[in-house]
Symmetry: C2
Subunit: 300 residues, 2 copies
């Protein structure tokens, strides 16, 4: 079996494991909150690349962790990602009707429910990560995971990036501000996923930890630039959402600021930065390297 | 000085300490997210009773904790409370224009910003509670705090209560369902505040811990029933928001289901349950007892 096929199989295995974890944490028989619960499951279990949990698993595995020690962190980062999609799709934000080829949460349910779905998914992510089972990880490492996640999705991370995005609609950003927006909006949670994986393997600081964090940050930026590119040059059927949406909304993007070809080159540049960061990890980082290529080669 | 005056002074002192903590955690000089930051400060620093942080401080103090060991937890529960108000006020939820006598966040700023303010405040609460300073509290106790907070604001707590509320508009709930809604929507975070205070004092289980949790749950229910009563019988100027809003919206409340007098009696009943729960605490719980009286005597 060649390396490419082997990587696809590993991806598939991690994704399946992630689905099982999401099923586990979203299980409920509570009659009174049935609609909220249904909307949470609808938004979360509807497919997706599961890049963030895959990063948790691959990073942890590269450092020798058991997959069971990574399950809660993997579920948590995906719950956060889904919450951010549900809120971003709201009429007051990006006003999107379609996500992963299906009606967005506020379309399939209603706006009030979509606000609550996001709120409850964020809380659930922290509940899962702080979870009751102490057998896999020392309390201090779990605290460090909680800190990394909370920081990565706050003002200096995802929510701040989203605020820059919201404020920038119809205006222009200079190149450094656009990079900062992307690093926060998308990069910070992807970096946090790598940090959580490392912490799940017991690695909390030092040169290798810093190298992995840098890898995550560069990978996240490459991912978002490639997303901008796909919005211009991608195929709507494969994306499961409309293309050209950023331009129609007057959003600053890498293609709109730098042109399509330069944007593609910048995605590859940051992929290379991510790869370079992995040098101290040696052979163990093979899957993480394959992920870096995958992130800028994907068509959805 | 009589007991009543002494209690008012203590209340004032804890509130001032809470304001300082909120100022501390909301301090920022980040240029790119200035508007988000301003909206977070506008929503958080605009007054309020600060009941939840006061409960953290009073519970911790009753068990002998240093106030400094309670500051992060106190700030965290108030950040959560404020996030819930900002989202509840949204047009897709309660659609309120006035809060604490001023325009609500989405009125003073815009809807997209209000969604992000709530999201970022929730993340900040967890970031503050998981905070970097390990000197005050063992990691296992802080993890227990994070767990209690996350559980108290999720599907089985605040967000779930809000979902029941949203689904119930224009319909009727039976008495047990209405009680469950109030216990989750308001009671769960108030109970979590008491739990966080106890954990901050190093108490994590046992009869006294369970007694305090029961106190918090009953106090929370009494508080919400009294809120329902104030919405019917209160003074708009003192409340800082319009009265009669629940009835106008067709919301099930204690007065609408039981009548005003029976609702008032039920608030007192749950206050008495809260007081009864404190018996194992003896003299140390004096301030907590005064708080139970305050909760159903207040006029705003």
């Amino acid at each position: 079996m060649d390396a490419g096929n082997d990587f696809q199989l590993r991806l598939k295995r991690w994704r399946e494991r992630c689905e099982q974890q999401l099923e586990r944490v979203l299980d409920s028989r509570d009659r009174l909150t049935q609609r909220l619960h249904e909307a949470m499951r609808y938004s979360t279990l509807g497919g997706g690349k599961r890049l963030r949990p895959v990063l948790v698993y691959c990073t942890g595995e590269a450092l020798g962790a058991d997959a069971a020690a990574l399950d809660n962190a993997a579920a948590a980062v995906e719950l956060i990602h889904v919450y951010s999609l549900v809120h971003d799709d709201l009429p007051a934000m990006d006003d999107d009707d379609l996500r992963r080829g299906r009606p967005t949460c506020h379309k399939a349910f209603d706006e009030g429910t979509a606000v609550l779905v996001g709120d409850a998914l964020q809380a659930l992510a922290f509940e899962v990560l702080a979870g009751n089972d102490d057998s896999h990880l020392a309390p201090a490492l779990r605290l460090a995971q909680l800190r990394a996640l909370a920081y990565g999705i706050g003002v200096y991370g995802m929510a701040g990036g989203q605020a820059i995005d919201l404020a920038a609609v119809g205006s222009t950003l200079d190149a450094p501000s656009l990079e900062t927006m992307h690093r926060r909006k998308t990069g910070a949670l992807i970096e946090a996923s790598v940090r959580l994986g490392a912490l799940g393997a017991g690695l909390a600081s030092g040169a290798q930890f810093d190298a992995l964090a840098r890898y995550g940050a560069e990978l996240g930026l490459a991912f978002q630039i490639h997303d901008d590119v796909l919005d211009v040059a991608g195929d709507a059927a494969q994306l499961g959402k409309l293309t050209g949406a950023d331009a129609a909304r007057g959003k600053p993007t890498y293609p709109s600021l730098h042109g399509l070809e330069a944007a593609q080159a910048l995605a590859l540049h940051h992929r290379d930065q991510a790869l370079a960061a992995l040098t101290p990890l040696g052979e163990r980082a093979t899957t993480l390297r394959q992920l870096a290529h995958y992130v800028v080669d994907r068509n959805n």
